[in-house]
């Protein structure tokens, strides 16, 4: 009994550690249970809230599962045609250079139909943030094979596994844009465990700060799951992702700003 009252006493506003940010609306997310989109939305909204950018941010929502993103985060939004979000973001950033502009795209949007827009936007070095959710499948339309589908991975249009000879090789968009001179910060993260969520949040915060420097495009890939498309439970899907997706799409920074690299080296020299 004493314990029960103790627990009730803990639940007080002054003891609050974590609650859903107010930048997220109260609409119920349209995603399947366990989908990484929800977590990615929430940490993005938290960063916008913590940096005080709610009225300064313009987001571009894509076509795909996250097409209704404007219903969930309470900022200014523009809906782009399929794959054309970076082109639209370019226009918005050039017309309103003081705003923080980001696009949020899935792999069908960014790596398939929007490949040209993505590559050219990154090559021009537009000052926008691109968030790329990669789950290796076209989730919204029923789990068809995407350019990011792993070799041998089953999907509804490759029921015997992706045959590289017949269907081509998977495309590592993040590695491609990391080689372009226009990008300033390129990283690959995930949101399936608390540690990874915290790391991804840190990466998004860094990217938001880099946007203020106007030095180039920031590109964050979030390797995510698709429990419905992969026909697994969310927990199984996360384990499968760790075992199969991460060896092919290794997590970590692919391109960090030169200044930060120099800083890191001097710091480590000091430590030595």
């Amino acid at each position: 009994m004493a314990q029960a009252t103790g627990i009730k006493e803990i639940i007080k506003p002054e003891n609050l550690v974590y609650r859903k940010t107010k930048v997220m609306t109260d609409n119920i997310l349209s995603y399947c249970p366990g989908c990484g989109h929800g977590t990615a939305h929430r940490i993005l909204a938290e960063i916008i809230d913590e940096e005080g950018l709610q009225s300064e941010t313009i987001g571009i929502s894509p076509v795909g599962c996250s097409v209704l993103l404007y219903e969930f985060i309470d900022i200014d939004w523009q809906e782009a045609a399929h794959g054309r979000a970076p082109a639209l973001a370019t226009a918005i950033k050039r017309l309103l250079p003081d705003k923080f502009v980001f696009t949020y795209q899935g792999d069908g949007d960014l790596a398939a139909i929007g490949t040209a827009e993505t590559i050219h936007t990154c090559n021009r070095g537009e000052n926008i943030l691109i968030i790329f959710i990669n789950n290796g499948i076209y989730g919204m339309t029923g789990g068809q094979m995407a350019p990011t589908t792993l070799p041998g991975m089953k999907s509804s249009t490759s029921p015997y596994g992706r045959d590289v000879k017949l269907m081509g090789n998977p495309l590592k968009m993040t590695d491609i844009v990391a080689t372009l001179p226009g990008t300033y910060y390129v990283t690959r993260q995930s949101v399936h465990t608390p540690v990874n969520v915290r790391k991804t949040k840190k990466a998004i915060r860094k990217a938001v700060h880099y946007q203020k420097l106007n030095k180039g495009t920031c590109f964050i890939e979030i390797v995510s799951n698709c429990p419905s498309g992969w026909k697994m439970t969310p927990v199984e899907a996360n384990k499968w992702m760790e075992a199969n997706m991460f060896p092919f799409y290794p997590l970590g920074d692919l391109k960090v700003p030169a200044e930060e690299n120099a800083q890191k080296t001097t710091n480590s020299e000091k430590n030595d």
């Binding site: 103790g6 399947c32 366990g34 608390p194």
Partner: protein, 74 residues
């Protein structure tokens, strides 16, 4: 030694029962309910609230942001 005690509140009607919070809880506080919410999902609830340390891991990974975390020192 001051003991850290935490507590979580789950918005039952928004929970989709994905169990991701359950596996990421380091103390085994969270379990899935035997009954369903109004959407038909087996929702998460703090089955052993006395074990909670308020680390907010469950809230960090919750895709639907249904968990609120409180923490205090006793």
């Amino acid at each position: 030694m001051a003991k850290i005690r935490g507590s979580i509140v789950v918005e039952i009607d928004r929970c989709k029962g994905c169990e991701v919070c359950m596996v990421s809880c380091p103390t085994g506080t969270i379990a899935m309910a035997k009954e369903v919410n109004h959407k038909g999902y087996f929702y998460a609830y703090p089955a052993h609230p006395e074990l909670c340390i308020g680390c907010a891991n469950c809230a960090m990974v919750c895709p639907d942001g249904v968990i609120t975390v409180y923490k205090t020192k006793i």
